[in-house]
């Protein structure tokens, strides 16, 4: 795929990433002030990679993500109201308040599974890909996971099967250098996770996930490969987790120099500057976009806040379906 990376594409990526960024900031504010009480795994620092992948996907494509998945879900196009309402545990939430942040599901936007179990999304993604292969619907399945997940058995079984069956699946490993409080090198006996693709005769690429163009190219190639029926790809997007594992994690285990070094390369301001220097948008336009997004956030938060909690009768619903 040698489509050229235009300023317009950069802007599109920035806008998606900025949406994620503004929502994450707002959520952390709400959590800090106690107005929102929910488990929360901030995607801060990982916005660009999700956005650069997202611009290649259609709403009919499938996404399987994790507890740290709000950036993937937003990049996939999930609407704010059902998403926020689910965080607020409300009846109007995507999952009626029954799933919560770790289990966001929204089939209309292709968000099929959000799992709280490390590595478990990968085998499921294969099944979605198998169905697409059978139906010849041309859909691509994106499954995202962390560096720590690359050490669990499900990763191995899933990549081997995906390669054997040439499934239209993209395995996106977001290597943010930590799994909870454990350092990458202490848990992962390989320099670059993408090298593991060789164990499955699979294409594997390591890319700087915080570089919009590099991430956009790697993603585009993987999506094109999948759509063409040429099989899966393992993308390792190097990035960093700025806000600790979960909201409230002081991240004391991260050496200050390491943290500052990454912070100094925060992809959001860098990308914003690139958009401006590229001429795709002016300061004023970007500020206007922020205002626009903030208005949407306000509206969705209001919706979530105003919505009722699920009725207790919901407890016995959705346990089993109507018998076939």
């Amino acid at each position: 795929m040698n489509k050229s990376f235009t300023p317009a594409t950069l802007l599109e990526i920035y806008r998606k990433a900025r949406l994620i960024n503004l929502i994450d900031e707002r959520f952390r504010g709400l959590l800090r002030s106690g107005r929102l009480a929910a488990v929360y795994y901030s995607p801060r620092g990982q916005e660009i990679l999700a956005a650069a992948m997202g611009v290649h996907l259609q709403s009919t494509d499938y996404l399987v993500t994790t507890y740290r998945g709000i950036h993937d879900q937003l990049a996939k196009g999930i609407p704010l109201k059902p998403l926020f309402a689910e965080y607020y545990a409300k009846a109007t939430g995507a999952c009626k308040g029954k799933g919560g942040p770790m289990h966001i599901t929204h089939p209309e936007s292709g968000v099929m599974v959000t799992t709280g179990i490390v590595g478990s999304g990968l085998p499921i993604a294969n099944g979605l890909g198998w169905a697409s292969q059978l139906k010849k619907d041309g859909r691509v399945t994106l499954v995202t996971f962390g560096d720590g997940a690359s050490n669990i058995g499900a990763f191995h079984e899933a990549l081997n099967m995906a390669s054997l069956w040439k499934l239209p699946v993209i395995f996106l490993c977001q290597n943010n250098l930590y799994g909870e409080s454990s350092k990458y090198a202490k848990c992962t006996a390989v320099d670059n996770i993408a090298e593991r693709a060789a164990s499955y005769n699979m294409v594997g690429v390591t890319v700087n996930g915080n570089d919009p163009e590099a991430m956009w190219r790697a993603s585009g190639e993987a999506v094109a490969r999948a759509r063409a029926g040429e099989g899966p790809t393992l993308i390792e997007a190097k990035t960093f987790r700025f806000m600790g594992h979960y909201f409230g994690d002081p991240g004391a285990y991260i050496p200050k120099e390491e943290y500052d070094d990454h912070m100094s390369r925060d992809p959001m301001p860098i990308t914003r500057a690139a958009v401006l220097s590229g001429g795709a948008a002016t300061e004023a336009e970007l500020d206007a976009y922020d205002a626009e997004v903030n208005a949407l956030i306000d509206e969705a938060l209001q919706f979530a806040a105003d919505s009722p909690f699920p009725d207790v009768s919901e407890i016995d619903i959705d346990v089993y379906g109507a018998a076939a």
């Binding site: 999952c95 029954k98 799933g99 599901t105 085998p123 499921i124 081997n160 089993y320």
Partner: protein, 343 residues
Amino acid sequence: MSTATAAAAEAKPEVITFTEAFSRALHDAMEMDPTVITLGEDIGDEEGGGIFKVTKGLSTKFGTDRVKTTPISEQAIVGAAIGASLAGMRPIAEIMLMNFITVPMDQIVNHAAKLRFMSGGQTHVPITIRTRTGAGAGTGGQHSDMLEAWFAHVSGMKVVVPSTPADAYGLLLGCIFDNDPCLFIEDQLTRTQTGPVPVKGEIIKLGKAHVAREGKDVSVIGYGRPVRDAMVLAEKLAAEGISVEVVDLRTVSPLDTETVLKSVAKTGRAVVIHEAPKSFGCGAEIAARIQEALYSELKAPVLRVASRDVTVPFSRVLEAEYLYKASSIEAAIRKTLEKRAAR
């Protein structure tokens, strides 16, 4: 009989084995519905159609896209079934033997069973996991376990164990076309035993127990292999004037409490049977429900007959000692009939 019916009789044998019943259900389901697909180790015809030949012919007839031989990767097998079901398919995943189901427990319990609820009903997981097991084959501690109690304890799952070839056919179809994740357990010991031929395409709905034999003195409640022993015993005891009612659960979970209580309310006595070890097994739940609901009606304590609480031994001498015995079922039945001081 007319030559026509004679021909029919010829064309269609009077009995089939469990293996034939499992196999027919798979063939018919895939024929009935193009969304039915299946995967598992060695199931394709290039591999001989499965270790017990249950899937023989499927890959040739329906193609290797719908019938996939997999690597030895149980997590990937169940995960693929789950994912495909989310996209509208009805996958059947084979886990060769039940002890290997310990490998994909996360996929089954944390995902298949919970996704409908956690998604607020937006998605559901209509998969069937076929597995086989059973002690008595001399295969030892890691190839014989009945672990159905684990899954019965997990809401969202359905657990089905047939006791006749006809039930095996109808219940397997019931699992495949049910809209929730079903665990279907095939007994490897009785797989060559025969029974009446089921009606093609006739589904047995899940969740209903079946009164396999009516009686008035004592209710024997169970599922799978031991129910076959109970039916023989019931016949034998009838000669002595002991009238045994046999309730075949068919679906172990969700449990059809209504049918069970109706029977015990009538007989006032209950013996619960299963092959799995007794302690913390499914029989405990059945006994607990009966004694709670029918305290005043019970003429005797609810008794349980099951296998020993030990690892399945290799040596036949010990394996026989491990396994529940038909004689123990008979003894339990007689015990419930003994006179006892009323409370």
